[in-house]
C-alpha cells in the first residue's frame, strides 16, 4: 500500500533503531513527550517501545481531544438529546466516552437519537435530509478537525440551513503544551511534535519552545519509520546542544501551515477567554468558540446548555496522567475500577488515550521475555 508500506520497511526501521542506540548516551536518561494521541496510539500499535533503549522514556502528552474534554461538556452535549426532534451526531471517537449518566452509545441504546458521523459535512447533509428535525453536531478536536467544522458552518450559512447547529469543543494545542511546561513537577528533554495538527498550523507556532524553553521539538509522522526518525533527530539536537523546531513530516506538513484552513477557522471561530481541560484545569485562550455572526448555528446559543461542571471521580488521576506526571499504571484506579470495559476516565476509552494504550502493555515484560524465547 503506497504511503504506508514505505514507512514500515523492516530495514529502515532496524537502521533507525540502530542509529538511536548509537546516538543515545548510556549514562543519560531521556524523557521525550509525544504530544499527540495519534503518536501514543502508533507507539503502542507498532510496539515502538521495544525498539528503543531503556533509557529513552516516552511520556504521553495531552493531545487526545477526547481525553481532555471534561465530563461536564459531555453532559452538556448529551443534554441536547433530551430535546424533542433532535438528532445528536458525533464522531465514533466520542461514542464510548462516559458522561455522568452514560456514554453517547448508552444514550443511543436507551432510545435517544444519537448517530455516528464521519465528518461534520455528513451531519449537515443529515440536516438537509431531515428538515423537520434539528441536527446537533458534537465538534471535538484540535486544529486538525476545526477547519472542517468551520467549512461546514460556512456552508450551512450560505445554504441557509437553519435546523443544524454545532456544539463547539475545539481546543488548541499550543496552550496545552505551555501548561505542561509550566507544570512544576514536569521534567522533559524534548517533544515529538504533533503531525496532523501541524498540517494546519505549520511549524512556526512551536518556535518559542525551542527559543524560550530550549527544548528540541520535531514534528513527526505516524508510521514506525517516522517516529524513530524523529527520535534520531531529537537525539542529534541534544547531542549537539541544539534546541530547534525540525520537521520530519515534510511530505505532509508545510512549514507555514495550511492558509486556507487557517482562514476558514478565523472566519468562523474566535478564542474563548478560557476553557476547562480535564486534569489541566482552566487554561486561558485554549479553545475556540463560534463567532456571533454564526450564533444561529451555535448549539450553545440554540439550546440552553446547562454549563455543567462535573468533577472527575476523586480517586481518578486523569489529570496527572494527561500531564505526564504519572504513568497510567500509577493511577489508583488503573486496571482495577477503570478498564477499557468499564472506563471511568476518557483516557481509558479512546484508542489514543494513554491509559487504554498502556492497559495493553500491562504484560509487556512478559511479552518481551516470551518473544525472546
Amino acid at each position: 500500500m503506497r504511503f504506508v508500506d514505505e514507512f514500515r520497511q523492516p530495514e529502515l526501521i532496524t537502521k533507525a533503531a540502530e542509529e538511536i542506540r548509537r546516538l543515545a548516551d548510556p549514562n543519560r536518561h531521556y524523557r521525550l513527550m509525544e504530544v499527540c494521541g495519534g503518536h501514543t496510539h502508533a507507539i503502542y500499535r507498532f510496539g515502538i517501545k521495544d525498539l528503543l533503549p531503556s533509557n529513552i522514556e516516552l511520556i504521553h502528552g495531552p493531545g487526545c481531544p477526547v481525553c481532555v474534554l471534561p465530563m461536564g461538556r459531555i453532559d452538556d452535549g448529551l443534554s441536547m438529546t433530551e430535546k424533542p426532534g433532535v438528532i445528536f451526531t458525533a464522531f465514533g471517537d466520542m461514542m464510548r466516552v462516559p458522561g455522568t449518566h452514560g456514554s453517547p452509545l448508552e444514550y443511543k441504546a436507551r432510545g435517544r437519537d444519537v448517530r455516528i458521523v464521519y465528518s461534520p459535512m455528513d451531519a449537515l447533509k443529515l440536516a438537509q435530509a431531515n428538515p423537520e428535525r434539528h441536527v446537533a453536531f458534537f465538534a471535538i478536536g484540535f486544529e486538525t478537525t476545526a477547519p472542517s467544522t468551520a467549512r461546514t458552518l460556512m456552508r450551512a450559512r450560505v445554504l441557509g440551513i437553519r435546523n443544524f447547529s454545532v456544539f463547539c469543543n475545539h481546543v488548541t494545542i499550543i496552550p496545552a503544551i505551555r501548561a505542561i511546561l509550566d507544570s512544576p513537577d514536569m521534567r522533559l528533554d524534548a517533544f515529538i511534535g504533533p503531525g496532523h495538527v501541524s498540517t494546519v498550523i505549520g511549524c512556526r507556532p512551536y518556535e518559542w519552545i525551542a527559543a524560550n524553553e530550549h527544548k528540541p521539538i520535531v514534528v513527526s509522522g505516524f508510521e514506525p519509520v517516522d517516529i524513530l526518525q524523529s527520535v534520531v533527530m531529537i537525539l542529534r539536537q541534544l547531542r549537539e546542544g541544539r534546541a530547534e523546531v525540525e520537521n520530519q513530516y515534510k511530505r505532509v506538513v508545510p512549514w507555514e501551515g495550511n492558509g486556507a484552513a487557517l482562514r476558514a477557522m478565523a472566519e468562523v471561530f474566535q478564542l474563548r477567554p478560557y476553557f476547562e481541560w480535564r486534569g489541566l484545569g482552566f487554561i486561558s485562550q485554549s479553545a475556540l468558540r463560534i463567532r456571533d455572526e454564526y450564533a444561529d448555528w451555535d448549539a450553545e446559543q440554540v439550546f440552553s446548555v446547562p454549563g455543567l461542571r462535573v468533577t472527575d471521580p476523586k480517586a481518578a488521576q486523569c489529570g496527572e496522567v494527561l500531564k505526564g506526571v504519572l504513568k497510567p499504571a500509577q493511577c489508583k484506579l488503573f486496571g482495577k475500577e477503570c478498564t477499557p470495559d468499564y472506563p471511568i476516565g476518557a483516557l481509558m476509552v479512546s484508542s489514543e488515550g494513554s491509559c487504554a494504550a498502556f492497559y495493553n502493555y500491562e504484560h509487556r515484560k512478559a511479552v518481551v521475555a516470551a518473544a525472546a524465547e
Binding site: 510496539g47 452509545l105 495493553n360 504484560h363
Partner: protein
C-alpha cells in the same frame, strides 16, 4: 425445602441494563453469557462454552446450536441476511466438529416489509442450504408492528452429527501447536460497513459468507488426530476468537502479523478508519489449532479449498492467556478482545 448452598447459581453479571455492546461478541457479550445465562440455564460449566453443544442420543453423538441474524443492510456485495443465517449455523456446527443435518428457521418480520424482499431472502436461504448440504425442515414466523423491528430478523437452529475422530477442545491445545487461518480476514465486516453507505469510501470487496464445512472436513481427513481447536471468527474477529482460546487454554497465542492474509482494500479501509483488521468480522473463514506434526498436512488440506490459507502463528506457554502479535521488524503488541462494536476513529 431449602436449596443446598452449592446449587444456588452464582450470578456475576452486574451491568444495570443491556447495552449494544452485550451483543457485539466481545468482552461484554461474554460477561452476559458467563455471568447470567450460563449460571441460571446451564449450571456450572465443566468445559468452556463452544460454538455448539454436543450430546448423545441412543449412542449417537449429536451437536446443536442456534444463531440469530440482524444485519443492515439486508443485502450487500457477496451475500445477504438469508445466506448468513444458513451459513452461520452450519459454520458454528462445523467448527465444533459436526456436520449440519437439519435446520429450523424463525422469521421476525416487520409489518410493511415488501414480499419481494422476503422472497429474495427465502430463495437465498434455499440456495445456501443446498450448497451447504443441509435440509431446512421447519420453523416459525412472527410479525411485529411497523417500526418495532428493522425489516427482518432471522434465527436458525441446527442439529448435526459429529464428524468421526474429531475432538475439539481448548484444553487439548499445547505449546508448539500451530495456528492456521483459511483466508484473508475482514472482508465481511468491511463490506457491511461500506454497504451502509455512511462513509464516502468505495472498495472492490465482497462478503466472504460461505459454509466452512468443506474446510473442516478436509482438515479432519488430513489431520484429525492433531486437530485441537477450531472457530469461525465472526463478530469480534480473529482477535476475539483467539483471546477466547488463550483464556480457555491458559496459554499464549503468538501471531506473526505479516503471515496474516489480508486484502489491500480491507487493510486500506482499516488504516483510514483506525480499525484493527483482527477485530473485523468474517463469515466464511476457519481458524484451527493443529499439533505441529500435522501442520503441513492440515495446511495443504486447507489450501486445497482456500488457496490463501496460511499458518499465522503458534501456541506458546507465556505470557499466559494472552494473544501477542509480532510485526516484521520485531515490535510486539498485545492483541485484546474487542470491547463493543468497532467504531471508526476520526481525530
Amino acid at each position: 425445602m431449602t436449596a443446598k448452598p452449592e446449587s444456588v447459581p452464582k450470578i456475576r453479571f452486574r451491568d444495570p441494563q443491556i447495552e449494544l455492546a452485550h451483543g457485539a461478541g466481545g468482552k461484554a457479550s461474554r460477561r452476559l453469557i458467563e455471568g447470567l445465562f450460563a449460571p441460571l440455564l446451564i449450571g456450572p460449566l465443566e468445559e468452556p462454552l463452544g460454538d455448539a453443544s454436543h450430546f448423545s442420543v441412543n449412542g449417537s453423538r449429536l451437536a446443536i446450536t442456534a444463531d440469530s441474524f440482524v444485519v443492515k443492510p439486508l443485502t450487500f456485495p457477496g451475500g445477504s441476511i438469508g445466506e448468513l443465517a444458513v451459513n452461520g449455523t452450519v459454520n458454528d456446527l462445523a467448527v465444533s466438529g459436526a456436520r449440519a443435518e437439519v435446520l429450523v428457521v424463525t422469521f421476525v418480520l416487520e409489518a410493511g416489509l415488501p414480499t419481494d424482499i422476503l422472497e429474495a431472502e427465502v430463495r437465498a436461504m434455499a440456495g445456501a442450504a443446498q450448497r451447504a448440504g443441509v435440509r431446512i425442515v421447519g420453523g416459525d414466523t412472527k410479525v411485529v408492528e411497523n417500526g418495532k423491528a428493522d425489516r427482518m430478523y432471522i434465527t436458525t437452529a441446527g442439529i448435526g452429527q459429529t464428524i468421526p475422530n474429531v475432538h475439539i477442545s481448548p484444553k487439548s491445545v499445547r505449546p508448539g501447536d500451530q495456528v492456521l487461518l483459511s483466508g484473508p480476514i475482514g472482508d465481511h465486516g468491511i463490506t457491511i460497513l461500506l454497504a451502509r453507505g455512511e462513509l464516502d469510501l468505495e472498495a472492490d470487496l465482497r462478503s466472504d459468507t460461505r459454509s466452512v464445512l468443506p474446510m473442516v472436513e478436509a482438515l479432519a481427513e488430513a489431520a484429525a488426530p492433531g486437530l485441537r481447536w477450531m472457530r469461525d471468527p465472526t463478530r469480534g474477529g480473529v482477535a476475539t476468537a483467539l483471546n477466547e482460546l488463550a483464556r480457555d487454554c491458559g496459554l499464549a497465542v503468538h501471531l506473526r502479523e505479516e503471515w496474516i492474509p489480508l486484502h489491500d482494500a480491507v487493510r486500506g479501509a482499516c488504516e483510514l478508519l483506525g480499525l484493527d483488521p483482527l477485530h473485523i468480522a468474517n463469515e466464511g473463514q476457519c481458524l484451527a489449532v493443529v499439533a505441529p506434526e500435522f501442520a503441513d498436512r492440515a495446511l495443504a488440506a486447507l489450501q486445497g479449498i482456500s488457496s490463501e490459507a496460511a499458518v499465522i502463528g503458534e501456541i506458546r506457554s507465556t505470557p499466559a492467556a494472552t494473544v501477542v502479535a509480532t510485526s516484521t521488524y520485531g515490535g510486539t503488541r498485545i492483541v485484546d478482545m474487542l470491547v463493543g462494536d468497532p467504531l471508526p476513529r476520526i481525530c
